[in-house]
Amino acid sequence: MITACDVTKRYPEGREALRKVCFEITAGEMVFLTGHSGAGKSTLFKLLAAIERPTSGSIVINGQNLASLRRNAIPYLRRKLGLIFQDRKLLFDRTVLDNVLLPLAIVGHPAREAMRRAQAALAKVGLPNREKAFPIALSGGEQQRLAIARAVVNRPAIILADEPTANLDAASAGEILEIFHAFQQVGVTVLIATHDPLHLPHLQPRILRLDQGEMSDAQTQSSEGGAA
């Protein structure tokens, strides 16, 4: 589903954010991408979402190599991804429902079908009765749910989330992870970048650890827990 090989990202000022990173994520997997802040998690997130391009190496998503992707093909790639941004990027001048309708409007879904899907997505993340509210009226956890609803309303096969549990209390963070788990259960591939992986006993995600731009050996959360 996602294959990265020898991915290096060097910024113009000379800083090397990622160095020869390799990994593979198969369809339906749930993977945590961990590491300290500055380890390169956000950079990798940006490369996977084609917001930035790798300096060298290849990233293949669904058979498409992002390194050689044409500029005008990028929107169509992003439509297949459910992106959840660290700063959530909610539109505060639009209602909850309109926020969720935006990706469908971009794709050009008929209004009635779009409405049905948006309502279903809001129900799935546990925000069924807040359609008319504005994001400012939502709690942090609810805002994150809204961001997830917007990411999944197009029914993507892959969800990429950058620090989705940051700034949330443990209970809300756990609920958010449960939502991701539910999507993984129905076959969606989930990659979550987080500096603080929560230990939820029934989630057994694979851990990819980034350390100063390099990837250390992949392991599962349970084996990491056993080693600690």
């Binding site: 917001i51 439509r79 990027k89």
Partner: protein
Amino acid sequence: MSAWLAQHLAALRDALRRLTAAPLNSLLSLLVIGVALTLPTAGWLTLDNLRKLTGDTPGVQQISIFLALDAGKRDHSEIESRLKEVRAGPWRFVPREEALKRLQASEGMTEIIASLPRNPLPDAFIITPTEAQPEALESLAKIFSTWPKVAHVQLDSAWVKRFDALLRLGKLVVILLAVLFAGALVTITFNTIRLQILAQAAEIELAKLIGATDTYIQRPLHYFGLLQGALGGLCAAGLVSAGFQFLTPAVAELARLYGANFALQGLSASDILVLTAIGGALGWLGAKISVLIHLRHIV
């Protein structure tokens, strides 16, 4: 096809929403665009009216041959045969009695003519030359003046030429104005779209991040420029029509005093349509340029 149409309708709705979201701003922009389009339009309309004033066939040149007062029937036929010979073009003979009658019909002349002891007007031939070149006309006039019993030859084209030259100058001024104010309109739209993009930077950035194509993002902005320009064109049509309405009584009064049958011609429906289309096209152009320059900075 229907999806394509739906996307365009959605973009149009979005543009309308943005236009009505800040009514005062939109109104001011429309007024500025309206005024910018009003000046060249009013100039063009004035020229058009002046051209109508000079007759239906402006630029037609005439040569008048005035005969001596003692010229008789034989002299007339002599000149007719000579005219046929030189093939100057179609002509018309105006006997002196007819000329007098016509003069009498003119405003204010009746009394003057009645006071004259006899008809002071000569017989005349009025030639519409087939040749329009000034040199050819002048050499024709020279030839006519050497003929017997010809008292005076007048080239009527002189004033027409002067008037035509004046109209041409006026036309250049109007074109200059039009280009200048078209530039102003494009600039105004450029700036409003720039402000739109700045105000919606977050929304545009997000839309790009979740898979919006450039076309999707640009479309409402293009429609916004188009709508604003077209409405500005309508606004200009309103202003020009109001101005002409205001001037019509005064012009009619002036024309009556000169005994002329002349009424100001305002904008026709097709003129208004063209004006709206021009406004729309210029607005679209301004939006297009603004989008090309300012959207580059967002992701």
